[in-house]
Symmetry: C2
Subunit: 336 residues, 2 copies
Amino acid sequence: MQILITGGGGFLGARLARTLLAQGELSLAGQPRKRIETITLTDRAAPPDDLKNDPRVRVVVGDLNDVLASKQVPAAGTDCVFHLAAAVSGECEADFDLGMRSNFAATHALLEACRALGNKPTVVFSSSVAVFGKRPGFEMPDPIQDDTLPTPQSSYGTQKAIGELMMADYGRKGFIRARSVRLMTVSVRPGRPNGAASSFFSGMIREPLAGVRAQVPVGPEVDHPILSPSRTIAAIIRCAEATDAEWGPLTGLNLPALRCSVGEMAKALERVAGPEATALLDWVPDPNILKLVNTWPGNVKSARANALGLTANADFDEVIREYIRENPQAVKLKVR
Amino acid sequence: MQILITGGGGFLGARLARTLLAQGELSLAGQPRKRIETITLTDRAAPPDDLKNDPRVRVVVGDLNDVLASKQVPAAGTDCVFHLAAAVSGECEADFDLGMRSNFAATHALLEACRALGNKPTVVFSSSVAVFGKRPGFEMPDPIQDDTLPTPQSSYGTQKAIGELMMADYGRKGFIRARSVRLMTVSVRPGRPNGAASSFFSGMIREPLAGVRAQVPVGPEVDHPILSPSRTIAAIIRCAEATDAEWGPLTGLNLPALRCSVGEMAKALERVAGPEATALLDWVPDPNILKLVNTWPGNVKSARANALGLTANADFDEVIREYIRENPQAVKLKVR
């Protein structure tokens, strides 16, 4: 089996690659498990060394539009594509053309390339909870369900919603096997902040645990849907494995979400790492971040994902403890 | 005021142009009425002579992607664009690339060109009830509302749904004033059949009235949402005139629809033109047409359009009598 991961140099892409390489085989859409021969990782930056050095890994560095145009990816015979590459929400809001190129045009070009493969590859598309947005002056359904009308209030969310529609039609036409997966905010991400408006949901935990001050740009009352990295990766793989009957409609599927307020996240941090941790939080509202975050739903239901056996974290303490367990070198405070 | 009509050589585009030229002025989004200086009609074919000969009409013949790329349209200072150009449903299902080029790429290019105008033009986009589709094995909400999740079951409907999402984001960003209008099936269209799967909804009335046999490719039980040409054109203009507050959310708006079964359409034809008319109908199922028509909803509600003062035809007799009144030369049978 040949696999392509776009955004393969990023946190989720690299982690997905490691998980797939460790399990060594994959079942697609209910077919028998097959050995993974090659995973191609494409991204603007090279992946970490452990991946680069794996003989099963092929690395293609470049802008996704460029590596598609030059036909460096997808390789002939690619069985499965995990399309994780994207410009993130804050970037796309600040630079409309960047988002249209990186998310809209690149997703279309990737789907055309998958269609040209001619073998109906499985395509797992990382959509986002940001397809949902509260429109000023209008009610948003509460809770959000899998089949709630997306009314994105960001260019990022719009581009993801358009990607879902393209995926569904390429799937309906039989060009690909379509799996549009709406990621919740992945927290706690290790490493550095990124340009996503949701970046602080990781930073407000990660930085204090490292003994570093962190800004919380929204109020404690803001409600948000969260899923931890390990559950997000397991869910993405489960979506590739799901049979067509298990998967159901070709519309986007909401991943499971822990509904948690920012205040509750801070309380969980204090339970896990004490008041020394929360003393490092600076509650400084940021209008640019608030503008996007305030449009996102807090209460997201995931009936289809639940039917696939996927569940959310039990509480935010579990989310924090997963990060501490997986990133012990990054934790400087004493954990209870 | 300068106006651009894409698809300006077609039935709806030409009729819209005639209506605008006759009224001589237009109010956009609640602003004072202004004199219409120029209407540019662009299409792959030239418009009828009466339009070509009007000194206020400018004609640009060519593929929409080409005339946009060569910057022949939109003219600097364009205040309002009616984007009616599209490849139709049957064509797009038979030729996927044609639909992606004519509907998806051209709509994106047009929106980019409107953004580049820099004056926030009003853009009225002719979306379609075909954004809604019954997915095999899944319930479709009944009735369809303005905010029902589009689940298109045709490439045409997908491309229209994507157009709506682009429109909403270009509108949200302030690049344009966005008016996405979901047309119902326009019946009775004069002239020749076209490649739309819905073409027979006009043909089964138009041809018998002309004394010509017509095929009905679906069963009498098929329910469908219809709006007559005069009401469709009036509604399109009303949508351009609506203030932002009247318009509401930037998502697509369902035009009013008369819910009518094909059997009831035939009965109305018999009431208006006698059994001589219905004797000319050949009920011959066509699997290709059934495949699309069976996915479309019959029962469509239009709360937002109704709030703009727009209403559906009272019954299908009214629809037929509008056609007879407007196209007396095309009617050979005796009308009661």
